[in-house]
Subunit: 353 residues, 2 copies
């Protein structure tokens, strides 16, 4: 009943355990005939090398990891209102895309991928579990307590994804939030001739939203428009319902109605679209709406949402490449901080397409 080991295979094929090991590790270092005997015995016994034992002995696992928060999914936050029309089988989450990117890249380098979403703390926390079983791993921003990361990163390569750099000496990859929003606002101003723009940020501590707001300000400054000190509105959370509420609030304000609503993310923008439709305000004729992220849902809604697309897939790939670099010698070159370019998706909600 208990699984066969190298000893069983060695005995059955009349060689030593070292040779069995070699057959699996470096087949060419064993005479073909011997190798075949070993393989045959292994086959007969149903032998499968224990990854744990190998890992223990060789101090490497051949596995890379990814920790992501449960809530890392803007799309998942929509909560109760699961429009059957947009059932979640269609909605690709951030984490899904990162996983895909990492999996591909990992495979190219001969690694497998271990994924885990945040559980609860304690000594048996998520990170510990992952960290103990991989050669290196990526963490989506704010998934893991900084303190834990600090600790773990002393023992194996860690790369932080998205979000701001929380720990100086860790490798870190983010997207060009500021550039993206600046370009988006610039497009609205220059190509559509809009001048009264409103930016909706977040009350939550969101460095991403802040960076985007900075981009917005820069575009205003460039164009000689008034440069706001703070977002026109901060939503309590960056969800669809809050976007809906935000749109209502902004339109109900006294004074001239803005010509464009720039939301810090797509979820809110999609919510806003709904509010505007309800109020009979036409998009983009009466008002333009934009988001940020490039979630697939943005393409499904009407009008399709103009937004800034984040290259999540590439984020995952770069993460793996970085980890592999660290694992293959380059252990102590200075920490990398990489900013991936984003791209503007001009769709109907701003008057394009």
């Amino acid at each position: 009943m208990s699984a066969p080991t190298v000893y069983d295979v060695a005995e059955r094929s009349g060689v030593s355990i070292a040779t069995v090991s070699r057959v699996y590790r470096n087949p060419d270092s064993v005479r073909a005939q011997t190798r075949d005997r070993v393989l045959e015995a292994a086959r007969a016994l149903g032998y499968v090398p224990s990854g744990n034992a190998r890992g223990l002995a060789s101090r490497r696992t051949g596995v890379l990891g990814l920790c992501f928060p449960d809530y890392a999914d803007p799309a998942a936050e929509s909560g109760g209102e699961s429009d059957d029309e947009y059932d979640d089988s269609a909605v690709m989450l951030y984490s899904d895309q990162i996983i895909r990117g990492m999996e591909r890249a990992a495979r190219r380098h001969g690694y497998a991928l271990l994924i885990a979403a945040s559980l609860e703390g304690g000594p048996e926390s998520l990170v510990a579990k992952v960290a103990g079983r991989v050669d290196g791993f990526a963490v989506l921003a704010r998934t893991v307590p900084t303190e834990d990361l600090e600790l773990i990163s002393r023992r194996l390569p860690v790369v932080m994804l998205a979000g701001p750099r929380e720990i100086d000496h860790l490798d870190h990859i983010e997207v060009a939030n500021t550039d993206g929003e600046r370009e988006l606002a610039r497009h609205l101003i220059r190509d559509h001739g809009l001048t009264r723009l409103a930016f909706v940020g977040s009350e939550e501590h969101s460095p991403d939203a802040e960076a985007r707001f900075r981009g917005f300000r820069e575009a205003c400054a460039e164009a000689g428009l008034p440069v706001p000190d703070a977002p026109d509105l901060r939503a309590p959370m960056m969800t669809q319902p809050e976007g809906e509420r935000a749109a209502d609030a902004l339109l109900d304000r006294a004074g001239e109605r803005p010509q464009a609503l720039l939301f810090a993310n797509d979820q809110m923008a999609v919510g806003a679209l709904r509010a505007l439709e309800r109020r009979g305000v036409r998009v983009p004729q009466d008002i333009a709406v934009t988001g940020f992220d490039g979630i697939p849902l943005g393409r499904l809604v009407r009008p399709a949402l103009t937004t800034v697309r984040q290259p999540m897939r590439r984020l995952g790939e770069e993460a793996v490449d970085l980890l592999v670099r660290r694992l293959t010698g380059d252990r102590d070159s200075p920490p990398v901080s990489m900013v991936l370019p984003v791209s503007l998706a001009r769709r109907a909600s701003c008057g394009c397409g």
Copy 2:
């Protein structure tokens, strides 16, 4: 430089390694004061338990696995023609959905998920790698040589996903291909009053396509329509280009033009849509088109594709539940064969919506 171990922690906190181990495994079995000392020492040293060592000693990893083929993605097969409009960030692949389902379920049960797409064979094959590092795993149909599975399943629980049951004594989950296609055809016949239906299958050995064809036949029989012995056409592969070709071929045939084209999968149906548009044949007015699978792309094309949606997400969840059952005692109850229900998505391409 080398990572601290239980010994280091034990020494620093003045206890034995057994106690250190207990703190991580069963905190309550250690006096609070002792525990805190240990935890503090661990923290100070940057101690992270080695998953490999734990796995070796305890004979369990707390990890479940998934092997999926590289080509498991109907959506990925479209190959060269990457319509920028449908960039892949929007396209959720089967494997992505299964991963998501498995990850969620695994997390609920306290497991992490190890994923790996097929690499190459050899002793160091994909399965071996995964199999050696998990407590049990799921395999997408035809990812892994039957022979290997046969072997491995002697040592740990394996569940096969989708496709037909290749190995009798393995747990197996599939979707209701026959039921789904039957219902789809019935809908065309009863609700839209169509009588000349053409089914496009595959030349490849595809039990799924065959099962769907059976459903088609049953619906025909039920309705008193002629029951074909074989699909009206078998495409060499179930891809978009082949679907395009198939539509052309079918329309070029002598005799009355069919009123509906039922494709064995969405990819082909999407290709067909393109062919029909090119020829100026209107869908659904001149001819109805249906697919099978429920890929997101089907919702983006115009007209939106009527299809049968497979619950991939649930497939993943059920797989995990099954594995966990096997891992918690129920080792030798007879193999399960589960068929998940599918659902009809009536959209514009059949005349609905």
